[in-house]
């Protein structure tokens, strides 16, 4: 089981605090919107990840526990 951080692109308004708090997983694109590294978040970063989620001014971030990778989890949700 692994921890992933995700952004709701509708709620996101490019405040950019997430990239400051969790640069290990989040960088900003040229328009200021978050680029999230899909890699799982290790236990050592979990506390910081939770803080990052709480810090988002528009509550656009979410932590998700992924039980196991399957093709159905990835990408199919947005069709």
């Amino acid at each position: 089981m692994s921890l992933r951080i995700e952004v709701d692109p509708i709620k996101c308004e490019a405040h950019g605090q997430c990239a400051e708090l969790l640069p290990e997983r989040i960088t900003l694109d040229e328009w200021g919107y978050p680029l999230i590294d899909d890699a799982p978040i290790p236990a050592s970063l979990a506390g910081l990840a939770r803080r990052t989620v709480r810090a988002c001014p528009t509550l656009a971030l979410r932590l998700r526990h992924v039980l196991h990778e399957s093709a159905a989890d990835v990408g199919s949700e947005r069709l």
Binding site: P9, I10, E13, G75, E77, R78, L79
Partner: protein, 425 residues
Amino acid sequence: MSLPRVLLGAGAGTMDHATHRRVHGELPPAARRSRNGRPVPLLAELSHAGLRGRGGGAFPLAAKLEAVQRANGRPVVVINGTEGEPMSVKDRMLLEALPHLVLDGAYCLADALGAQDIVIALDQSMGEGHAAVRRAVRERPEAGRRTGQPRIISVPTGYVTGHETAIVNFVNRGIARPMTQPPRISDRGIGRRPTLMSNAETLAHVALIARHGAEWFRTLGPPDEPGSALVTLSGGVRAPGVYEIEYGSRFDALVRAAGGLSEPVRAFLFGGYAGTWIDAAGAAPVKLARGGLSPLGASLGAGVIVALPRSACPVAEVTRVAGWMSDQSASQCGPCVNGLASIADTLADLAEGRGGRDAFTDILRWSDLVIGRGACAHPDGAAAFVTSALRVFSTEFDDHALNGPCDACARRPVLITPRQRSVVA
């Protein structure tokens, strides 16, 4: 049985209910089909049939049905007849000419799911289609019921307003803009209830499977993509229109059915404005199925194929569509709004010969940057359309980058970009 299936008996005007029952036969009671003498519920039959959605997503219908059954609450069935793709008319045609096939499918699924509420989502610009659907609903035996009458809603015109989450959003809050998933509408949709939304054509196939069974459905098409599908073929063919194809059939057979090419063709657009281009050279033997198209980076999408004549300017067409797709963004997600606008502006510069040295690399970079970063797949589609165009039409794009507009730039457009902007709220 062979083709036509959905288009069986289709003629001018709307097929009334009596004719419909004569042409296709009666619906089995409670939508049960007997296999070897044992009644088999419709849902199991649909699973066996392997029917996938015909609205562009190609999602297995059985999986959607299972998801709705698993969810809590009384389900709602929605007919998605909105058809936002400008070069597609098959759903419009179905609802105007063969509404009972679509309604059969919806009523069957509602019965099988235990749903009482049916919503028919039509594009607000459909005009005559609204009246045809209303008349068809009144003709049905279910019209006598006190409850469970279908509700027809008029969705604002737009490319993304017909997304399943946008329709749910429109019904719930009056805003025809896509929503973030999760939650999926199969869990929480209209009125926060599990919602089964299906493309109009998909429901037409459901109506036929309910009558003839899964085995019959699978007699056409390859095992991994069974059945038939409607395709809107337009552009440089003699008889543009809606055709029913067997999955896996050759593309040139379809072109022949449409009277052949009316003029030399440069390339074919497969899948609409979120689809991809294929050079005309070597397109003839392509098999119209996932197996034949995905090696070429293409798919049928919502069954849209456009033949771009050599007399048209691909740069002008692609640039105009890219600008339109940028305007059609629901403007909710930063990467989509910014990315598609940047791509469209730079393409416009290129077409005018004003593009900078980095224009092509910029466009490719932005196209990559928007993938997967919107709430819906709109930016992904627009990006795929543009990148495949840059690849297939590299000669023409290089030429315009150096020399500016060509003579063909000003000709009448092949790819339609309707002027009406979606009124979402």
